[in-house]
Amino acid sequence: MQNPYLPYPVRIEEIIVETDDKSLRTFRLRFLRPEHEKAFKYLPGQFAELSVAGKGEVPIGIASSPTEEGYLLFTINKVGLVTSHLHNMKEGDIIGIRGPLGNTYPWERMQGKDVVIIGGGFAFTTLRSSIIYMLHPENRPKFKKIIVVYGARRPGLLLYKEELWEWEKRDDMEMHITVDGTDDPDWKYNVGFVPTITEQKIKSADNAIAIVCGPPIMIKFTQPVLEKIGFPPENIILSLEMRMKCGIGMCGRCNIGHKFVCKDGPVFSLAELQQLPPEY
């Protein structure tokens, strides 16, 4: 059996600065060895440990979709030791990747249903993965409506802007981009907090599943809105973050009750979370 702690070596192919404050960058990574790329089979919702020799590892959600072959994308917020170091790295540098880790969004259950995606701030990475995955011609027929509500504090903090504008133009999905506020007179999209826009735009919970990713405050206020629209707790899907080390359920720190966020999660339904201690 492969040593589950050993990262695969990857090369940073491209670094894209995502936000105007430069605190978020997307890293495009390519495996050095094709057999590693083949072994790395993932679905949207999963994460990986990025490994920087001499600095350590960070658990980051996978922002690319398995339908995008040949590379992986990770959007990284500059926060601590490893992520700050990553922000100073250059295209061509070698890092490591360990995964895929954790569970996925409930793709089987989502088939034949409307999918409502609600994201806030930089927690849009595995949601981007999900949208790209669902829009792939092979997958699109498996889902009914795709409705996206995505907000940031201001336009400059939105991730994946080029793609957002493209998605706005499509007729096989509904996009609701919003910002908390802006002084840009040319801003064509919504202004308002994500929970408010959700309440205005999402009309029905019939045969629908909602995936919610965002800062705790956004989740806190979006949850009652979704319940009011009629989403039962088992159809509200959340993805959690936790301090992690091993990523494989052994090192003991990311538990919520008897579940490990790294191995039993990071994706949980609200119904599952209601059974667990509120310690996250």
Binding site: L6, L32, A53, I95, R243, C251, G257, P277, E279
Partner: protein
């Protein structure tokens, strides 16, 4: 299953001479006993209660070099992590107490499961033979018999020693145990009366531990309470009040397995190292954002007892994550006692 009997002198001589094993034995060092590899200058001392440190480090060292790497871009394979070459020769732990052998069984489900195998823990465990030493006189802090063990319990043991005064009666339990005992010269077949003597020692020890009033633990009642009811019970401020978060309980505990992973670099060479960690420390769960789900002391204390007595039970359905060795009770600087806390949780 069969028996052999050894004069104590022959047994100790045999441990010195056995070939093909690294043999760990209890040795008195200053005020406490510790397991050390036997050699000509080391005299095993089997007249001990238990070692202060649990023998968990024999399988699971406090620091483990996982990988090595080079941080010089001029070198080939710079920044690529490589496995550190390691050997896992046959070894034996002779004189391990039944609680500590049981503890390895409790920990095994964490490091060796259908999805992932920890390579270092599993290889060392497989290479190890466990020769237990039954406890003729359990101590006041011992409660193995309450948590699925007992002073002569055989869980996780390949053979068990009965101390008959001037001789050891050895009960061989597994083939692995037989291979080891077969390598020690001077063993004889015991008489029926030797086996009877061992059985009565075992009965006495069991009677003694079960007559200790301190070991009453309402584990059944606790098992029946839902996790959230215990988690939300208004007991944790009071329970955690004396704790100073020193972490000695987790450090000495044979069933505490949590670890941290750190990179260390010296000049152009680096190692990725795994170190024991502790849920008693706030940084254990501190997020990069500054948020900490277990920032307050009572949350960390609650985590330790909930993990041992509720979460583990719920996850694996096979008893608590505690083998009753009593080290945390004995060495806690503020006299916290898991047996009392269990009963508060069960109320």
């Amino acid at each position: 299953m069969y028996y052999k009997i050894f004069d104590k002198e022959d047994w100790i001589n045999g441990l010195h001479k056995i070939e093909g094993y690294k043999v760990f034995v209890p040795v008195k060092e200053n005020y406490y006993h510790i397991f050390l590899p036997i050699d000509k200058d080391i005299t095993p001392d089997f007249s001990f209660h238990n070692t202060k440190l649990s023998p968990k480090s024999i399988i699971y060292p406090q620091s483990e070099r996982m990988f090595e790497f080079v941080v010089d871009p001029e070198q080939p394979d710079a920044y690529v992590l490589k496995e550190v070459p390691k050997e896992f020769p046959s070894q034996a732990v002779v004189g391990i107490r039944p609680c500590d052998a049981h503890a390895f069984q409790i920990v095994k489900v964490n490091f060796d499961n259908p999805e992932y195998k920890d390579p270092w823990w599993t290889k060392r465990y497989e290479a190890t033979t466990f020769i237990g030493l039954g406890c003729n006189r359990p101590r006041s802090t011992c409660f193995c018999s309450k948590v699925g063990g007992g002073p002569f319990n055989e869980k996780g043991l390949d053979a068990i020693m009965y101390d008959l005064g001037d001789r050891f009666l050895i009960k061989v339990i597994t083939d692995k145990g037989g291979d080891f005992i077969g390598g020690i010269k001077g063993g004889k077949d015991p008489q029926d009366r030797d086996i009877k003597e061992a059985e009565s020692i075992k009965e006495e020890a069991e009677k003694e531990i079960n007559s200790n009033i301190n070991i009453n633990m309402n584990l059944q009642e606790l098992a029946e309470k839902p996790i959230l009811a215990v988690f939300d019970a208004p007991i944790w401020d009071k329970v955690s009040f004396p704790c100073i978060n020193c972490g000695i309980c987790t450090y000495l505990c044979p069933t505490c397995w949590c670890f941290d992973i750190q990179d260390e670099v010296y000049k152009k060479n680096g190692d990725r190292i795994r170190n024991w960690d502790s849920c008693m420390f706030p940084i254990f769960t501190l997020h990069g954002s500054g948020h900490n789900p277990r920032a307050e002391k009572f949350r960390r204390v609650r985590q330790r007892f909930m993990h041992k007595l509720k979460y583990y039970v719920e996850k694996y359905g096979d008893g608590v994550q505690c083998s009753g060795c009593g080290r945390c009770v004995r060495y806690c600087p503020t006299n916290m006692d898991i047996r009392e806390i269990c009963n508060i949780m069960a109320k």
